[in-house]
Symmetry: C2
Subunit: 337 residues, 2 copies
Amino acid sequence: MTQRDDFNALTTSATLADVARAAGVGESTASRVLRGKGAVSERTRAKVQAAADKLAYVPNRLAGNLASTGSNLVGIIIPSLTNIVFPDFLRGANQVLEAHGHQSVIAVSEYEAEREERLIASVLSWRPAGLILVGLDHTEGAKALLRASGTRLVEVYDTDGVGLDRLVGFSNRQAGAVAARHLIGRGYRRIGYVGHRIHLDIRAVKRFEGFEGALREAGLSVVAQEIGTGTSSVEAGREGLKRLLAQGIEIDACYFSNDDMALGGYFHCLSHGIQIPNQLAIFGHNGLDLARFAPQPLSSIRTPRAAMGEVAARMVLGQEQAKLIDIGFELLEGGTT
Amino acid sequence: MTQRDDFNALTTSATLADVARAAGVGESTASRVLRGKGAVSERTRAKVQAAADKLAYVPNRLAGNLASTGSNLVGIIIPSLTNIVFPDFLRGANQVLEAHGHQSVIAVSEYEAEREERLIASVLSWRPAGLILVGLDHTEGAKALLRASGTRLVEVYDTDGVGLDRLVGFSNRQAGAVAARHLIGRGYRRIGYVGHRIHLDIRAVKRFEGFEGALREAGLSVVAQEIGTGTSSVEAGREGLKRLLAQGIEIDACYFSNDDMALGGYFHCLSHGIQIPNQLAIFGHNGLDLARFAPQPLSSIRTPRAAMGEVAARMVLGQEQAKLIDIGFELLEGGTT
DNA sequence: TCAGGAATTGGCAGCGCTGCCAAACTCTGC
DNA sequence: GCAGAGTTTGGCAGCGCTGCCAATTCCTGA
């Protein structure tokens, strides 16, 4: 198994002028043919196309977009790639964008607002057709940049607040409340919570707030909680529930900051012979596919991530009238509650 | 909750010339300050910086890169976003690229070679600094494009074959063989296989080939198999194992095309009271975190996806001498075999 | 004080493409 | 055969920036 060495031989790629010369036409004619716009006779069209093929011409969009002011790039800045939910979102967005000839520039903020601001500046320097951000919380500097740029902006994942331009998502607060009411409705009264590095994941905080609020309305409260210091993961959920139970406070149900965490809790119970849901009920958030096919499907809130990506993409392309779309969520009454 | 309307007011963003004028210096001086290269006196530096800040200047990289020929974009084309392994890879790559001031343009081929070719052309039109592709199998047209472009190319995930330029990955064939030898070593003899839409996932095919080869060396063979028609998922794995067992052929171990599938199989066994590993052993591929924290950690092959992303990024930036790096994999002797 | 060299600075020609406009065709119908 | 209207074509000025080179200013030390 050896690698070849003749790749990357000096190559200067052909320009539009090269194609035009080879086809014996003017630059603008060649341009018209290759972009498929403007009237061109069939005969010249064929000539130009042949020349382009022969030269393996790849248009230079740097030049094209500079000349026509405005690119077909769409920037997408997500908080993380470790949790499948953002790739799910990307998939939906990307599908629509690609179908409309747009390309995504993706950046990852790691849940840090300052980093997000830097990334926004970086992405804006490509003069994108639009920008998609997750959540409503951005630095003042970021907001100023966005406003000054005039780029179409779509914020996603969170409708608990006011967005800057367009917005598609769901209410995390309500999702938390729905989770709480579900548990209450099933008769659970001593409810615990296991969360992850919560100070950074603002939406998880909002869910918890909504959860607590609904408990309070029912005269209840979270009787024990355990907040991890790292990102969410199956491991963190498993550890979290273990520590929560070690507190010695009796609970009959546990709400987790998301499905990864909840699955960890579920695994902990399986390992330790804790009966689900009789001894302990488990509730997550996101409705991950993988948790739906556990022996007992995880009770959770299904968030339409890919659909949200599609809507966000359509919004960013200016194909949606509404400035605000609440895409909702769905209660999954699984077998763990 | 209402959306504001004053966003996207007509804004023409400031140009370098605007900044230069506002600072009372020449364009090239302003350019030097803002790029931080070239000697500039502290006094003018401050003036220019102040002007840029005041105007909320965001450089236009379309123009910048056009002028300097060559962008700081790196194209990454992956087969899919539904399986966490590619986001894992992206995360590693993205981290290194961002640290070096590069931006990733990401596209998804859905395992279709023709689509990959289109995406390559599309990405090349941005004159990226480099390109990362998954696997070694590309259309002739794609290869021609890549060769003609002279862009630095890194192929990843597969060393069972010869790459076009740079290459980092591991041998899927060997991974399959290691899995087989592990099962054989543990005494399993009647081995089944559950796979997914295998004609598209060439690397899964290679793993299976390696697996079968190692069985053959031991005088064994796969006694029953079930290949799904869709993409890999927990559900497909669960269904697959169910159908496999329904065939009525007795097996004592099952190899799955990856961990998602294997986890599905694991869940099936839990649901149906099949003792693992006594009645049935389960082996996956990828070493997903979430499967490591199941009651019985899934036996699997851990692939260093994020590390591979980092190496690929370094290669694409020209920071690696080697043209070929086998990054290996690790046998995870879990509790399911 | 002044030559000589270093440190700064500005001007301007492109990078490859698109958009506009005028020029050159082609076709009508009379 | 020709005006008039349509269809096709080519020329060229930018888009906003960088890279080069020349011009200017600022220091040296003698």
